[in-house]
Symmetry: C2
Subunit: 357 residues, 2 copies
């Protein structure tokens, strides 16, 4: 039987057991608030602490959420049994109904059903994707890789001007062939397209992943699978600003809001290839710098304090940004020519192993 | 020689000619402001009127824009000659420089270079995509279609859980096989994924296109090519609200801001399959309706006045929305079961030809 169905069954049986023994039915859920998020220096990941809460059926403050949790759990079980996937919005609409003779609804807003899904993730130690609740596709990939997905064999090297659009259900794909020396993750889709057109992944024998901003869960799962299962180094390439650096840190160490799944979707071995503030001066991009806004400086100061940005190389870069009051985008490299990024900047950084930790 | 290079050369030669004849160099550009946008009842498309403006080199108010126009034109010519593509942001950074001995830059902000591209589109009667300036990839497609793109043969029926991610350079793809009875365009990506998982395109022998909100230029180009070159009927499926209906109208008749390219990117034969306000009542989705906000009602009243929404069927639907003060999302159909959309709602609408014009 499907592992997820087993876990959902176990939850149902424990409630039944409470009822049969005349106990107040309850479930235990690890607390997800910031107070229970810790950075684990050994694994280099954000993770949840030990604090838990108990949700009871016979408790006026808990009973609605208790009922909602069981509704969502039953819904996920039926998805697994039918072998289908759906979005969290469709789930909300599917479960929305009113109780006869009352004005009470199962759910009034989607903002009530969304956190229940995370509760189940934490409580059952499963990923939302394993519960078959999908997120929007975001991110693209190209490279010398052949996969099997829902019965089709797909060659990431033969997709024309596009790449393969990364689904949220990355756990379900099967790798048939992976021929690459490293993974290059780029924040900007336009940069992905430029590198793809220049056949960067072919020339440098790598897998190219475009995240289109903050990496979606699917992209992060994919990066981790490539790192863990094939031992590939991962280099992350973002804008030179606190937002870009945070994209890197989420890929590497996880995020606070998803700390409970860091071990399954983050990649602690990832390294930062650029853009650094030093690059702006080294590569004479001064005419393309952007003045940092107040909010950028504030965010940079926050990063300075994060445990996982304590490495001297990062402290130096972040302080340089604050001192000069500047930032820059990946596209600034185009000032040196449209192929400068693919033919000079990236190959040299990789050859000289110029990464931030 | 490339048609676009010819047109760019012609522009350059006419300026040279002005100079050699001692004339004030000038170029003529059709006006794109709303006052020059008209709805052509015969073609069912928004289009530009006859008004034009002249940009002169020796005119303090024009000379900077004149210089910028020639810079962008020269840049596009070099893209065509080198056979590469790039984004408009990369172009901005590439062209940004300062004039020695002055504080003047070619461009200070990207908001200066973007409109120049549209000027060239209008003036030369070419698409921005033909100038090799790409937009972000948006939209996905699946179906019994085989294409050739940058040397690769791609089968839209063999892409696993995903579809093919639609590029902005749709003009460059070559159709090798198109086996379908119609095109279904759906606004929501989640809906695309649900239909794709249920193999809707296989069962109904159609091409399924997900636009992910307002259709990008690439998706609109693709829809038009499938309609024009293969005579396929196009059915558009959006949320039941003014925003969704406008998505439909943009696919069908073009938009005001892109009126100058309507003839090449809109599909006047497209029909609207749903969601209608009447559907909410017909299919008993009342518990999933959303109360219309003031801005929705205001927008609905605007649509009521557009020439291309004058058909009685549309007037009835829009008035019904205003009267009841409600709207609904595609996902509301999930209240009738996750497969209701793919197995009942859409097939019955198509069989009974229940479309809005």
């Amino acid at each position: 039987m499907d592992d997820v169905i087993k876990k959902l069954n176990k939850l149902g049986l424990s409630i039944l057991n409470d009822i049969e023994n005349g106990k107040n039915p309850s479930m235990e859920i690890p607390i997800r608030s910031l107070s229970n998020v810790i950075y684990d220096k050994k694994t280099k990941q954000l993770t949840l602490g030990e604090k838990k809460l108990k949700r009871h059926f016979f408790n006026v403050a808990h009973s609605k959420k208790f009922m909602q949790t069981l509704l969502v759990a039953a819904f996920c079980k039926s998805l697994a049994e039918e072998g289908i996937h759906t979005s969290i919005r469709d789930m909300y609409y599917n479960l929305k109904r009113s109780f006869p003779g009352t004005k009470e609804n199962t759910f009034d807003e989607q903002s009530e059903s969304d956190p229940i899904i995370v509760d189940l993730e934490v409580m059952l130690d499963v990923l939302r994707e394993q519960l078959r609740l999908t997120t929007d596709r975001k991110g693209i990939v190209a490279g010398n890789v052949i996969i099997k997905d829902r019965g089709d064999t797909i060659n990431w090297a033969k997709l024309g001007s596009g790449g393969w659009s990364i689904p949220s259900t990355v756990e379900e794909i099967e790798f048939k062939k992976v021929d690459a020396d490293f993974v290059l993750v780029i924040e900007k889709n336009a940069g992905f397209e430029r590198l793809h057109e220049d056949k960067f992944w072919k020339k440098e024998n790598c897998i190219l992943i475009g995240t289109g901003g903050q990496a979606a869960r699917g992209a992060r799962l994919l990066i981790q699978r490539l790192s863990r299962e094939f031992g590939l180094p991962v280099y992350v390439f973002t804008d030179s600003d606190p937002y870009g650096w945070y994209i890197y840190s989420v890929i590497k160490s996880g995020s606070m809001s998803l700390a409970h799944v860091s071990d399954r979707i983050s990649t602690p071995s990832a390294k930062f290839i650029g853009l650094t503030i030093s690059d702006i001066y080294k590569f004479d991009l001064k005419r393309c710098i952007i003045k940092a806004r107040e909010v950028d400086i504030k965010r940079a100061k926050e990063l300075l304090n994060y445990e996982w940005f304590q490495k001297p190389e990062w402290q130096k870069e972040i302080n340089l940004m604050i001192e000069k009051g500047v930032k820059a985008e990946i596209e600034a490299l185009s000032n040196r020519g449209l192929r400068f990024m693919s033919e000079t900047y990236l190959p040299e950084k990789i050859k000289n192993e110029e990464f931030l930790p």
